[in-house]
């Protein structure tokens, strides 16, 4: 792995550059590296180019000397979408983590399931969710990092919802249906997919942090992601029925509190933020300071 050019943003970085910047230098060892050439067996039917790692990099490393298993999606290859090989690498990593007793970091950057391999991708999502639940039940943590160009959409959003903790930057988005899909199906009145401000007020990192859909909010900066990840690795692990019960109460309360909101600004106003329209323009540190005083939290209820 090569040293990261200083000042490179998480958003702009490739998956490999993010790993290099996040993890202890020289600690990353890849499983099924690109030289193994385990590409998608399905893209050639569509005359689409392949990537040697199928857009999913998995391996072991240390973060502040703690051994972890890591997965990173390359969001610029096929939109970071889940295909058969891509998904199977993450499934295997999570099962390995259960066997080894390791925490897992998932660097999400995905539009969801790869349409050319839709059924394989969809199944992979389900297998991954099951593997995460098994891993967490065994007492390990799964930390999701979300701040890439593709966001964390579709099945990726569901996987994120199974993680122990999520760290987002402003640029990150988490959603099931994407803006274009909502517009195509329900019309531009329901969602104008070209209204970027609307996308971010509805699905973006600041909104998710405020409504309790994410646990850490960081600048678009690998060092910030690293610090927040280290902190998340210190939280108590596990997943059991009592946590799910707490999550149920949290999600019920959220619906009661914000169920009539029309827009993100309504949610933020209900949270007690005096000037919700100013939220998108706030600098990261100012935003986090303001958010921490009033946001919904999901500690031990995710």
């Amino acid at each position: 792995m090569t040293a990261l050019p200083s000042g490179l943003s998480w958003l702009e970085a490739s998956a490999r550059q993010r790993l290099a910047a996040l993890l202890d230098p020289g600690s990353f060892a890849e499983f099924i590296g690109p030289e193994q050439r385990e590409r998608s067996p399905h893209l050639r039917l569509f005359d689409l180019p392949e990537q040697f790692d199928d857009g999913m990099i998995v391996g072991r490393a240390t973060l502040c000397r703690t051994p972890v298993l890591v997965a990173a999606q390359e969001g610029r290859f096929m939109g970071g979408a889940f295909g058969e090989v891509h998904g199977a690498k993450l499934t295997g990593l999570l099962r390995a983590a259960t066997l080894l007793g390791r925490d897992v970091l998932i660097l999400f950057d995905t539009g969801g399931v790869r349409l050319q391999e839709a059924n394989a991708g969809e199944l992979a999502i389900s297998e991954i969710m099951r593997a995460i639940v098994d891993l967490r039940r065994a007492g390990n943590r799964v930390i999701g990092l979300i701040g890439g160009r593709a966001g964390c959409y579709g099945g990726g959003g569901l996987i994120a919802g199974c993680c122990s903790a999520l760290i987002v930057s402003e640029q990150g988005r988490i959603s099931v249906s994407g803006p274009e899909v909502i517009e195509t199906n329900k019309g531009v009145e329901e969602f104008d997919s070209r209204d970027r401000a609307l996308v971010w007020r509805t699905m973006g990192g600041k909104h998710r942090y405020l409504i309790g859909g994410a646990d850490g909010y960081v600048a678009d900066d690998p060092a910030a992601f690293r610090a927040a990840t280290q902190s998340a690795l210190g939280r108590s692990p596990g997943l059991d029925l009592s946590m799910l019960h707490a999550e149920h109460q949290r999600l019920t309360r959220r619906l009661a509190r914000f169920g009539n909101a029309r827009d993100g600004t309504d949610v933020w106003s209900t949270l007690g933020i005096a000037d919700p329209d100013a939220i998108p323009g706030l600098a990261d540190d100012d935003f986090r300071h303001l958010a921490d005083a009033c946001r919904e939290v999901a500690d031990d209820a995710r």
Partner: protein, 105 residues
């Protein structure tokens, strides 16, 4: 997809000792290059998979320039191309050689 393969005599061997390096992403206008130090030091091979058919002469020219300018002997270079322009190809080839020459940690 078109598959092209070139074997060229390389005047200078790639420096360093790393066994492999990879650069780039397979996206529109971009490409990935995997370099593996597995050949005799006076040889360089380039294998290309590309969806843009009919550009063999362009690839040939880019590769010829590259081998003349950079020390690439001993390297097997494998490219997955997303429709990159020749100057982007040249950039990635130079980048991957620089990467494989980096001192090991």
């Amino acid at each position: 997809m078109e598959h092209l393969s070139y074997t060229v005599t390389a005047p200078r061997a790639a420096g360093g000792t790393r066994r492999q390096a990879i650069i780039g992403v397979v996206a529109s206008g971009n490409l990935e290059v995997l370099a593996e130090r597995v050949l005799a030091t006076d040889t360089c091979t380039v294998d290309i998979a590309t969806a843009a058919r009919g550009f063999a002469p362009v690839w040939q020219a880019v590769i010829a320039d590259f081998v003349a300018l950079r020390a690439a002997g001993g390297l097997r270079l494998s490219i997955n191309d997303g429709g990159a322009r020749p100057d982007t190809v040249a950039l990635r080839l130079a980048q991957v050689v620089r990467l494989i020459e980096e001192p090991e940690a």
